[in-house]
């Protein structure tokens, strides 16, 4: 294996030789490729070149930095210049790197299931279009959300063909937009600013993870950071289960499904009465019987009163509904009214700098077109898998009747049949593109490596097609279409972006835009006035057991199902990997007599599927929440491997509300949980501090009530505590500080760690046998119950102890302590006695039980700075020692020690974290940020009573709970 990798690495070097000559796809001339940090654009082996580009992991349109080593992109990080994600990146974005190296990619165009040349493929498409035009059939473009030049060009050419362009996102903001239109007359999903909110109320939106964009996670983290805003926001979530966002709540109210809208309106009413609100919404809620509605929702009055009290006195945000909410539009109308009454509109809830959904269609519009599939001559599918993301009655049914499907996709999907024409569109790393996913934030996508396959971006294919169809030829009044999309892109940016700036010279502007990853206007946020005159029906409560689908935090709507990282990073709440599961309440589980590893059969009038289950303490007895994302057909080897598609349970495109029967089925063969225990079993592993104590402490950990006798300083001074002194760290003692209060359990750190450290993915069979290789374990402890769930996340990686238990016991010195305070691993020296792992109280070590392989071309994605480990070798986190080495060398050349700011987000986990919860630095330097955090009143070392002197400190999570001993554990 080791040899193999070395050989492959040389192969990569060989390729990169050519790559450096033309390190981008043939369509675009090389001189436009401009690296972000290092000026020379040819490749220096061993030196990474960074390209600013856009992320295609979801429709949020974040800016990312692609790390090019020897002609291959080996890593993706957030672009610090981009206003949306400000340098952070989520697990979806990291996993999207694997799209470029997927072993299932199309090698080139396909016609009728056979490989074809580009000319033939485009010819075939053109003739199909002509035929459709002749036969008077429709030509339809159906794709994901596109904005900017990419969208403009599609519209232009498809329009010229006489076709219709439809864009739709399975997890779009449709319902919210409709609500905003109804209430304020603005067809736009508002932007929610969380960073100043004392109280955040959510009606189910998974806004820290799969809903919206990373700015929410950052804002929420800032609002929970007392050192920034002087208070700790309190988070109330009102939903029938707890989403990946909901588990971070302080209070969880679980209303009867379908009564959320009423509950929100009742709250608004009570709030209005309390505040004496006389705004434009007053008339709307005047006639509401709060008592009755709250009663119907089955929520305790006292809680609502408490909530109203908070809303009345503090800045707040009321977040919208999520996929698991029934009557989404009604609920969103109610939340907007509640925001209006709470006085948030124009302050924390604004219009303007928000998701740019122009040209995004509603599902009704899409369904209407697909319903008439027999009359569709040509359907252009732009990376949208309608067979998977739509109910079979709509998606699959349509595919059966459509004359010709033309798919722009780099990988197979369930929607691509044997008769389809495939025009491989490549990935974002291989072609030009842009987006304006959020109004004013024009993000550029530049090709940052040579395509692995024979691809053309969809826009170039369209241009080719236009040429064949004789469209867009130059006339007197129009200049006509350019030869390639790169030119079109520049032209469009010239007219639509450059013109709006006061930049003098387009060339300079363009160069700058490519370097920084785009051009970002500050759109001034605006409020809105209530237009609504009468409230729509709030919707009836559901009866019986209702189905509620929720997106997988990493697989999302299923588009990342073929990414092994997205599959194998444990879903943070359940800890489950590889499969589809239903969240069942403990009561349901015991009623059905389910045991761990069992399957359940879910049956609705639309169909039935077998899935595993997760006994969630928070889900209602009358709700069955099912995760989306798995159970594909013909969408790649990993996507097809596990699970079932819950969308098959839907008869219409409504994720929640269908009534469902749950019955016990056989055993689940793939799903496995990577989190051992639901809570911390009364052990003092992670701590809480009371919000009222915050700021009262003096000295490190002074307000953390440790459950073991604090180590007496006098013992240390007398040399009685330690038999041996702490080892010498001349210049550096690298250390990590993790703020459990900022951490929302999104799992970005885990995915980033996989990407940076060549961590092997082991697959479902090995995962369920306990061979999961992730170096970071995002521990989840479900301490509370009922209205105060008290769920705590604690990312646990190697703690780099100064008195490391692992080191002393290794017979062959394969692990030892280095001068920088790291527990170094010498993989080549390891025999695999595994004693170190047995002796690690943090269970942070991972063992290679087999040689795990990277099917081609995954091996090209490996980080050449990190050794790949083979069978029989122990491995673990080393704080990304390769990055530490790099930065140390850089500063050694100028004779300096590495400054704090160069270290802050050095490790992959820290650089990814959207909540900025992880800080890296040199604890040896008293002025470094980590040293300061180590002195924080909330700082504690995990299992500090073992006196292993770890290099990681956690900041205790802050609890608003009044329950005594909220810390959990202890005797």
């Amino acid at each position: 294996m080791a040899e193999l990798n070395r050989r492959d690495f040389l192969k990569v070097l060989g390729i990169s030789g050519t790559a450096s000559a033309c390190s981008i796809d043939p369509v675009t001339p090389i001189e436009n490729v401009l690296p972000y940090v290092v000026t020379p654009d040819q490749i220096i082996p061993g030196i990474a070149t960074w390209f600013a580009t856009q992320c295609n992991g979801c429709e949020a349109g974040c800016g990312v930095m692609a790390k090019n080593r020897e002609g291959r992109i080996i890593n993706i990080q957030g672009n610090p210049e981009h206003p949306t994600n400000k340098g952070s990146i989520c697990a979806k974005g990291v996993s999207d790197l694997q799209a470029s190296y997927s072993p299932d990619r199309f090698d080139g165009p396909m016609v009728g299931g056979k490989a074809a040349s580009w000319d033939d493929a485009l010819e075939a498409t053109a003739s199909a279009v002509k035929a459709a035009q002749v036969a008077g059939k429709k030509i339809v473009w159906l794709g994901r959300k596109r904005t900017g030049a990419t969208a403009a060009m599609t519209d232009e050419i498809i329009g010229a063909m006489g076709g219709t362009v439809l864009r739709w996102e399975p997890l779009g903001t449709e319902a919210l937009r409709a609500a905003a239109k109804a209430v304020f007359g603005i067809d736009e999903a508002p932007h929610y600013a969380l960073d100043q909110a004392h109280t955040v109320v959510s009606f189910g939106a998974d806004f820290l993870n799969s809903w919206g964009n990373p700015s929410h996670a950052r804002g929420f983290a800032e609002a929970r950071d007392p050192s920034l805003c002087g208070f700790v926001t309190q988070f109330w979530t009102i939903e029938g289960r707890l989403s990946n966002t909901g588990v971070n709540c302080d209070v969880h109210l679980s209303p009867v499904p379908g009564t959320e809208a009423g509950l929100a309106l009742a709250t608004a009413k009570l709030l209005a009465d309390k505040k004496g609100y006389t705004g434009r919404a007053a008339s709307l809620i005047a006639g509401i019987d709060a008592e009755a509605l709250i009663g119907a929702a089955g929520v305790r009055m006292e809680r609502i009163v408490e909530l109203v009290d908070r809303l009345a006195h503090n800045d707040s945000v009321v977040m919208p509904s999520g996929t698991t909410t029934i009557h989404e539009e009604a609920v969103n109308i109610a939340t907007l009214i509640l925001n209006e009454v709470a006085g948030n509109i124009g302050n924390s809830v604004v219009f303007g700098p928000t998701a740019n959904d122009t040209g995004i269609n509603t599902f009704a519009e899409v369904a209407a077109v697909l319903g008439d599939a027999a009359n569709i001559g040509v359907l252009f599918l732009d990376e949208l898998d309608i067979a998977y993301t739509m109910p079979a009655s709509i998606g699959r049914a349509a595919l059966g009747q459509i004359g010709q499907v033309v798919a722009f996709s780099s990988e197979p999907t369930g929607s691509i049949g044997a008769q389809s024409i495939v025009l491989p569109s490549g990935t974002g790393l291989e072609s030009w593109g842009d987006n304006e996913a959020i109004s004013g934030r024009h993000t550029l996508q530049q090709p940052s490596m040579k395509p692995l396959k024979d691809i053309r971006c969809s826009s170039d294919s369209l241009l080719g097609l236009a040429g064949l169809l004789g469209l867009g030829a130059a006339t007197d009044e129009t200049p006509g279409l350019p030869a390639d999309f790169a030119t079109y892109l520049q032209g469009w940016w010239n007219d639509n972006v450059f013109e709006k700036t006061d930049a003098p010279d387009f060339a300079k502007f363009w160069r700058n835009a490519v370097q920084t990853g785009g051009h970002f206007f500050d759109v001034t946020p605006t409020g809105a006035a209530v237009q609504m005159t009468r409230l729509p029906d709030a919707g009836a409560p559901a009866d019986g057991t209702t189905l509620a689908l929720f997106p997988h935090p990493f697989l999302y709507d299923g588009r990342h199902a073929n990414r092994t990282w997205a599959q194998e990073v444990p879903e943070p709440v359940s800890g489950l990997v590889w499969g589809t599961w239903a969240e069942l309440s403990p009561a349901t589980v015991s009623n059905l007599g389910l045991e761990e590893g069992d399957n359940v059969t879910l049956t609705t009038d639309a169909g039935s599927i077998d899935v595993g289950f997760f006994a969630s303490p928070a889900v209602r007895d009358d709700v069955v929440a099912v995760v989306m994302g798995n159970g594909h057909e013909g969408a790649g080897r990993y996507a097809d491997l596990t699970g079932a598609n819950p969308v098959n349970l839907l008869s219409e495109m409504q994720y929640a509300g269908a009534s469902v029967q749950v019955t016990r089925a056989g055993k689940n063969e793939t799903l496995s949980s990577q989190i051992g225990n639901i809570d911390q079993d009364d052990r003092p592993i992670t701590y809480l501090v009371k919000a009222k104590d915050v700021g009262t402490g003096s000295g490190p950990g002074s307000i953390v009530h440790l459950h073991h006798p604090p180590i007496d300083e006098r013992l240390t001074q007398a040399g009685l505590l330690d038999m041996y002194p702490e080892p010498e760290h001349p210049t550096y003692r690298f250390a990590l500080a993790i703020d459990n209060n900022r951490c929302n359990g999104c799992g970005a750190c885990e995915a980033a760690c996989y990407a940076e450290n060549n961590i092997a993915t082991v697959g479902p069979e090995q995962a369920r046998r306990g061979r999961h290789m992730g170096w970071i374990r995002l521990s989840r402890y479900w301490e509370g119950s009922g209205e105060e769930p008290d769920v705590r996340f604690q990312p646990t990686m190697c703690q780099q102890c100064s008195h490391a238990p692992c080191e002393g016991v290794c017979p062959v010195l394969a692990t030892y302590h280095n001068l920088d305070g790291l527990n170094a691993m010498i993989y080549n020296r390891c025999v695999g006695t595994r004693y170190c792992a047995n002796n690690c109280p943090y269970s942070a070590r991972r063992f290679n039980y087999h040689s795990y392989d990277w099917p081609e071309p995954f091996h090209m994605m490996l980080n050449p700075d990190v050794l790949t480990r083979t069978m029989g070798v122990m491995e673990k986190c080393t704080f990304c020692v390769q990055r530490i080495r790099e930065v140390k060398d850089t500063y050694r050349d100028v004779g300096q020690t590495v400054p704090d700011e160069a270290l802050l987000t050095l490790p992959a986990c820290a650089s990814a974290c959207p909540a900025e919860a992880i800080t890296f630095g040199n604890a040896k330097d008293p002025n470094s940020t980590v040293s300061k955090i180590f002195q924080d009143e909330r700082a504690y070392a995990m299992l500090s009573e073992l006196n292993t002197k770890p290099g990681v400190r956690y900041l205790a999570r802050i609890s608003h709970s009044e329950v005594e001993d909220g810390q959990g554990g202890g005797h």
């Binding site: 238990p805 063992f847 087999h850």
Partner: protein, 454 residues
């Protein structure tokens, strides 16, 4: 050495002559019976299946076994400790009892020593079999790598390497020295090539006054060395666990507790092996209830210590109010591994109580069955210690449940087959009872007594 007073106590038939002894003991070495071949066949099957499992592991990696993070040690280390423990009775009986001059050792010590050596040879398989890179297991031996880096002599595993190899060497020397006079006897009782073979093993032993003089002196020294070794080896093995901070392992109680357990299982194994042996070879004159009763008493003593250790472990864990310690011990008794725990308790603490009754400890069936139970119980004790502590490490988020799979069971079978292979060869190649020493128990032929008889 031991004087000849009170041969009645030695329970050896005083009518026996030296010649008769030689004859009786060498008898079984010549000619093979059905039972023998049946046993060999069984062993062969075991080796074949186990070998197949080992090869799989070699090719595909340790992953073919049932390990589940964070349980990084399982059946292999369990079985390693088990065999090391078995290997204790031999040297204990031959060395310690030799120094104490207790006569009942004479009948059983030879076979017990052989058992020791084979047990250690079996145990020695496991460090090699359980490491991730078996082909590199030799890296554990003390020699420098290309860059002059030696091993970490602070690691309990290195102590193990030294302790076990020393124990093996010393036991083997001790064993061989004891055999020399008997090899001489065999040399003189066989003909041709076989005689030559035994001759070379006897390295020219004639039993002259000079040889006997140094022989007895040296034998004493070996015994004196072997004695602390018996106590040290299992202490060192116990430190593999006690030196780790894993809850349930990190305990100063371990060395005495392990040594007691080792002697307990060792003596039980001696009964398990020697009882059938003495019956099959019709050696009731030399090995009989009297010996087994003494062994049983040994077991009662060490078993008592063990029971005390179990109780103390749990009491202290509870008394310390350390959530991790108490967590583990509660888990052992009531958690996923409750069955392991209760098998251990019933086999090690309850069944042996039968032997408090003379009737029971002199009844061959009871002796044998209980001794087998003890062996089973001691294996489960080690499994209980290793698996449960690792399955419930400090951080509940990392908990798991581990069970050995067919591969590991195969390797377990292999180890037993391997052990019995050697033992079967032994009983046919070497006298399983020390001829010269049995003779010591007999009254020497004296002319004046015969005169008196006339």
């Amino acid at each position: 050495m031991s004087n000849q007073e009170n041969n009645a106590e030695a329970q050896v038939d005083t009518d026996l002559t030296y010649g008769q002894v030689t004859k009786d003991i060498l008898e079984p070495l010549f000619g093979f019976g059905k039972i023998y071949f049946a046993a060999l066949a069984l062993v062969g099957i075991g080796l074949a299946y186990g070998g197949w499992c080992i090869i799989q592991q070699l090719v595909w990696g340790l992953g073919v076994a049932g390990y589940s993070q964070p349980v990084f040690w399982g059946l292999y280390i369990t079985t390693f400790v088990f065999w090391i423990g078995i290997g204790h009775a031999g040297t204990l009986i031959s060395a310690v009892l030799f120094l104490f001059r207790s006569k009942w050792r004479t009948g059983v010590y030879r076979a017990a020593e052989a058992m020791t050596i084979f047990a250690v040879m079996t145990a020695a398989l496991f460090p090699a079999l359980h490491v991730g890179r078996m082909w590199n297991a030799y890296w554990l031996f003390p020699y420098p790598n290309q860059r002059q880096l030696w091993q970490n002599f602070k690691s309990p595993l290195m102590w193990d390497v030294f302790a076990v190899s020393t124990y093996f060497t010393v036991s083997t020397i001790f064993f061989y020295i004891g055999l020399i006079p008997d090899f001489a006897a065999l040399r003189d009782r066989t003909r041709g090539i076989i005689s030559k073979m035994y001759g070379s093993l006897a390295i020219g032993w004639r039993g002259t006054d000079r040889q006997w003089r140094h022989y007895m002196a040296a034998y004493g020294f070996f015994a004196a060395f072997a004695t602390p070794l018996v106590l040290s080896v299992h202490s060192v093995v116990s430190w593999d666990f006690a030196m780790a901070q894993t809850a349930g392992w990190h305990s100063t109680l371990f060395p005495p507790y392990f040594v007691a357990g080792a002697i307990f299982s060792g003596c039980a194994m001696v009964i398990t092996l020697m009882l059938p042996l003495s019956l099959i070879f019709k050696w009731d004159k030399y090995i009989n209830v009297w010996h087994f009763e003494h062994l049983a008493k040994m077991c009662l003593l060490t078993g008592g210590i063990l029971t005390y250790a179990y109780v103390m472990e749990h009491f202290i864990a509870w008394y310390s109010d350390n959530p991790y310690e108490w967590g583990i011990f509660a888990y052992r008794a009531t958690g996923d591994y409750w069955w392991v725990f209760w098998i251990m308790v019933s086999c090690n603490c309850v069944f042996p109580l039968l032997w408090w009754f003379k009737k029971m400890r002199t009844n061959l069936w009871c002796l044998w069955i209980v001794s087998v139970f003890i062996n089973v119980g001691m294996w489960f004790e080690r499994f209980n210690i290793i698996a449960s502590s690792l399955a419930h490490q400090f951080d509940p988020a990392a908990w798991t449940y581990y069970l050995p799979n067919y591969i590991e069971i195969g390797v377990l079978i292999f180890s037993f087959s391997w052990f019995f292979l050697w033992f079967l060869l032994f009983v046919k190649v070497m006298p399983s009872v020390a001829i010269a020493e049995v003779k010591e128990l007999l009254p020497p032929p004296l002319k004046y007594k015969e005169g008196a008889a006339k």
